[in-house]
């Protein structure tokens, strides 16, 4: 039971619960992100939240509000500059997000603050502290324990989970409409869906998810959680609902394995989570039944063995 030894510590339980919720949220979103082709957008927004966090700290606002506003500013400014100049969109995005991030660094260097840049950049999952209690509240007649999970919503971890569940619920309810908007905006328009509103809604949910996830994995690696699980699932199935289930499954499993690995290796937890997700992707890339490399190789070999079958 040595392998599961970390589970007995409250800070590890907190880390596992929070990490799993964040991973599941990002995994749901990642299915939309990769269909929409927003990988770079996600990367940009996650960096652009920095000045908002520092300014919110200076103004005494909740940090998440500042982060949300400056993430939105990044995407709005990019859209404006792209429409009014001849520079390509990906270049504009690069210019804007690095500018905001650099401004955040300069601001931070001028504040004598206890705002830990390290925690914002790399996440602070193991330091989140206990925010819930798991209690046995009685024994049912079948001699099974009845558990109750008390969340402390005054604490950061509890709030993250609350917001995470709300965002995920909204995504699940609207998934059909959002999917159509990502896949085929013209078709969506024909069906009289509010395409512009839904696109901005998705963008706002993306920003919100990034802000929520910062606590767990940090600015730098949150983008991995927003791309990799969706891509892994995309290699396994052609159906969107299944893709979401697989995406959430691999993301949560990778998070649990990553946190356990980071405990045993004594290494950075966010990196371990991301690497576990990357390994899941690498395995799918090789072995996925239909869209994997080996499967397509086998198909190609069979086709060349019986060339008449093709023509």
């Amino acid at each position: 039971m040595n392998l599961l030894e970390p589970l007995q510590y409250p800070f590890m339980q907190s880390a596992l619960l929070l990490g799993s919720v964040v991973a599941a949220l990002c995994a749901v979103l990642s299915c939309f992100v990769i269909l929409k082709g927003w990988s770079l957008m996600g990367d940009a927004i996650s960096h652009a939240v920095l000045p908002g966090i520092v300014l919110a700290y200076l103004a005494g606002w909740p940090l998440a509000v500042g982060a949300f506003l400056s993430g939105l500013l990044c995407s709005v400014a990019t859209g404006f500059i792209k429409q009014n100049s001849r520079v390509k969109e990906d270049t504009v995005l690069g210019v804007v997000f690095t500018g905001l991030f650099a401004f955040g660094l300069v601001l931070h260097s001028r504040t004598q603050s206890e705002l830990h840049l390290d925690h914002i950049l790399f996440g602070h999952l193991l330091g989140i502290g206990p925010f819930f209690t798991l209690k046995v509240i009685g024994e049912s007649p079948g001699a099974e324990y009845v558990w109750s999970l008390d969340l402390d919503f005054g604490s950061l971890g509890g709030q993250v989970i609350l917001v995470g569940i709300l965002v995920a619920a909204l995504l699940l309810v609207l998934r059909r409409d959002l999917l159509l908007v990502c896949f085929d905006p013209n078709h969506a328009r024909v069906l009289a869906l509010p395409v512009k509103f839904l696109t901005y809604l998705l963008l706002a949910l993306l920003v919100l998810a990034i802000v929520v996830s910062l606590q767990a994995v940090g600015i730098i690696l949150v983008i991995a959680m927003l791309i990799t699980p969706g891509c892994t699932a995309y290699l396994w199935t052609d159906r969107f609902d299944r893709m979401m289930v697989i995406s959430v499954g691999t993301a949560v499993a990778s998070t649990v394995l990553g946190i356990l690995a980071s405990y045993h290796l004594d290494g950075d937890s966010a990196s371990c989570i991301v690497l576990a997700q990357s390994l899941a992707f690498a395995a799918s890339f090789l072995f996925a039944p239909k869209h994997g490399w080996l499967a397509s190789k086998r198909r190609a070999a069979r086709n060349s063995a019986f060339p008449s079958a093709v023509s």
Binding site: V87, G94, V95, T98, A102, L221, I223, D268, L275
Partner: protein
């Protein structure tokens, strides 16, 4: 003695200023090609992907440029493989590969606390850069400038119109590899001055700014290189007053220059476009 001259009295500040000017200039030259080619995401990806190479090189006591270079090539190979052999889109495959490499780099650093500092890689270490690393930067810059100087016309054609380049008998595969190699090399150099996260700004912002100011590629090259040098010198100097946030200062300045060009550029700026639109409108209204 006035306050604003104090940075010049320190050797480490003088060295930081000339080293950053050199790197800024080289990145500026290259950024013209990168913006034309539309490789912003590639620049971002490579600058993150070199990190495990740097960490391993420190472990094995090899020159950091060598490790970074190998990691950069491995990453671009992996991106090409995923794109060619699966149905994942290019931008997503770039994202997966560079975050994996970066995570591996951070893990290696966290496993070996005595080695290279995490902060050095993320924010650069211009003010405390050791002598032998300065030499590596000088060599990287010299080689990059030499290659760009000899081959800039071929590279320009390749960036503008690869088909045309192929038609007139240029070896586009080789040019692609050359540009990728130069990109990795300069990403490593810029890693030292502004850190892994802001390298991409050095590689695209001067080029994008210059692109708003001129229509001629030769002029664009010089403007972007000049901007790279100017912002790096001012940023390194300014970082003396900003608690050593060198990368932040340099890139903030570059973004301000870009915004100024976006608003006020004589032909492609926002204000002149608005003025033109108004004049056109007035010309159309019959009096």
């Amino acid at each position: 003695m006035p306050d604003f001259l104090t940075p010049f009295h320190y050797d480490y500040m003088l060295r930081a200023i000339w080293v950053s000017a050199l790197v800024g200039g080289v990145c500026g030259f290259l950024s013209s090609f990168i913006t034309l080619k539309g490789w912003s995401l590639m620049g971002d990806a490579l600058s993150h992907a070199v990190v495990p190479g740097v960490a391993l090189a420190h472990l094995l006591k090899l020159p950091f440029a060598l490790g970074a270079f190998v990691a950069g090539l491995l990453a671009s190979g992996a991106m090409a493989l995923i794109k060619a052999k699966s149905r994942i889109r290019e931008d997503a495959s770039i994202g997966i590969v560079f975050t994996s490499f970066f995570a591996l780099g951070l893990l290696l650093i966290s496993l070996n606390p005595a080695g290279v500092d995490r902060k050095t890689i993320i924010f650069g270490n211009l003010l405390g850069i050791p002598d032998k690393e300065v030499w590596q930067l000088v060599i990287i810059s010299a080689v990059t400038l030499l290659v760009v100087g000899l081959k800039w016309r071929d590279l320009m054609l390749f960036c503008f119109d690869p088909n045309q380049a192929r038609t007139i008998g240029l070896r586009t595969g080789l040019l692609h590899l050359t540009l990728l190699t130069l990109l990795s090399a300069t990403a490593v150099a810029a890693l030292q001055t502004v850190g892994a996260i802001l390298v991409v700004a050095m590689l695209i912002t001067p080029g994008a700014t210059a692109y708003l100011l001129t229509d001629r590629f030769g002029v664009m090259l010089w403007i972007s290189a000049g901007l790279g040098v100017l912002t790096s010198v001012l940023g390194a100097y300014g970082s003396y007053f900003f608690n050593g946030a060198t990368g932040g200062c340099i890139v903030t300045l570059q973004t301000l220059f870009f915004l100024a060009a976006f608003l006020f550029a004589p032909k492609h700026g926002l204000l002149s476009a608005r003025r033109r639109a108004r004049i056109n409108l007035e010309a159309k209204i019959p009096s």
